[in-house]
């Protein structure tokens, strides 16, 4: 499956929804997360909606402004995303150096932010769920689109 793509993020959603007891054990999530993959001359943005125990769906958006209000942005260069996903696949889950928190704590190589600090704090409030959500990428093969990949919005 090609990263990044709606299908790739939808596969994570499908994995979460197919295993409701796993996520029920972790607790509810109410969050709009935008995964922003940065290339030298463009970015691709994928909005993922979480509601309760359910991953509601994925869509590609043209910009942060086009995302739902209150969205939390998880952004980083393509190389950082690729390394994280490859690490998850190689190890079955993110290793100690590649968890979402570790990659974002110093705002490099990835960063998490929102318009309001209260929304940014949602990323911390649901951290275990989000980590296990991305760790689901270990269950399928990922093909990485190169730096010349284009968005549907180009």
């Amino acid at each position: 499956m090609l990263f990044p793509s709606v299908e790739w993020f939808q596969a994570l959603c499908d994995a979460a929804n197919a295993n409701p007891e796993r996520f029920r054990r972790l607790g509810t999530v109410d969050l709009v997360l935008v995964a922003k993959i940065d290339y030298p001359h463009q970015s691709r943005l994928f909005e993922i909606v979480f509601s309760g125990y359910h991953c509601g769906g994925v869509r590609e958006v043209s910009s942060i402004r086009a995302a739902r209000e209150g969205a939390v942005i998880l952004e980083g260069p393509f190389a950082a995303w690729k390394e994280m996903v490859a690490n998850i696949k190689a190890n079955g889950q993110a290793d100690l150096a590649h968890t979402l928190n570790t990659l974002t704590l110093y705002d490099t190589p990835m960063r998490v932010w929102a318009e309001s600090q209260l929304d940014t704090d949602l990323f911390y409030r649901y951290q275990q769920n989000l980590q296990e959500f991305f760790d689901s990428a270990s269950h399928f093969e990922t093909e990485f689109a190169g730096p010349e990949a284009t968005s549907v919005y180009n």
């Binding site: 509810t28 309760g52 968890t99 704590l105 209260l118 940014t120 704090d121 409030r125 951290q127 980590q131």
Partner: protein
Amino acid sequence: MQHYSPAVEKVLDHMSEVRSGKLDLSWMNSNPGGWGVRATPRDERGLGLEDLNQVGTYGDVPDYGGEHGSMAPRGAEVPPNTPALGCYDINDKSLVWADNVALLYDEAVARQWSSARDIPWDKLKPLPDDLEKAMCQLCTGLTEVEFIAGDMPAKWMWHINHDFHEVKCFLATQIADEARHLEVFRKRALANGGGLLKASPGSEQLLRAIIEAPDYTTASSLMHILAEGFVLTLFRNGEMLALSEVEKKIFRLCMQDEARHVAYGTMHLKYFLEKHPERAEDIHEILRQGEEAIFGLSMEPQTSEPRAILAGGGVDHIFEGMAKLSYLYTKQVREYLHRLKVAGLDRSSRLAIPLELPS
């Protein structure tokens, strides 16, 4: 022949009347305005406190709690002879409320975890002495401070009018969360060949300020926004510094709980200041005191050095670690200021501590 008190005799007389067929049943016709409701869950997450507040008038939270002063549930008919408990002196909604409190309670009960069952203790590995000591000192400090967020809510909870049960229920979950934090850090210190190390006088200064705060809102501002906001970043730091999956999981789960507490505190302060803008200076003053205390605590050797050792990868690299922590300090302060901004309080020009540490 046994003699009973007049109160017991009265009950025995009533039981005789019931046996002879004289029933009351007036309670079946009480509270007619509150009858016929049907609370339903909004989705698959089940029936939450938030859902109960959508039916009838049960979600109408009064600006001032019932004067009956009892634990009669909000929305029930309160008989005239109901005795007051004599303890509810926080009766103004604005002194405790947050618009997200019912939602946060529902989230809290859905996200409870067990330090016995949910931490992979079997994945602990022997560590070099300096790293194990650093981790144990970090855990000593955390197990010391965490239960302030149990003691503070407990101090105020029984003063809060029962009409604000959502707040009391949320605070009860916070007490449970902090009990779990106290025990999980104690467990980590004692589970890998180390032990508890040195307690922190600096911590006790801050904890005392929280316990001695003159009212609930000043205590909450100091604890939920300042202290727990700083600890939230500390938990994020702990997750990053984790030497195994054990610490990763501990800090990640604690981070979730802490962020929930911070969310309540931020929105409570917002609600409070909207109703009492004249009290802003009181909040500024308590936060000034808290900022100075937390700055002193942060620089205490038993607080800063273990984290620097873990960040640097060993005592030989402690100065590299300190440089990394300097960035995090600024992040902690910025996020704190941003949360206060959400709450409607601007301390950016009044901060009592540096925004950045001197290099």
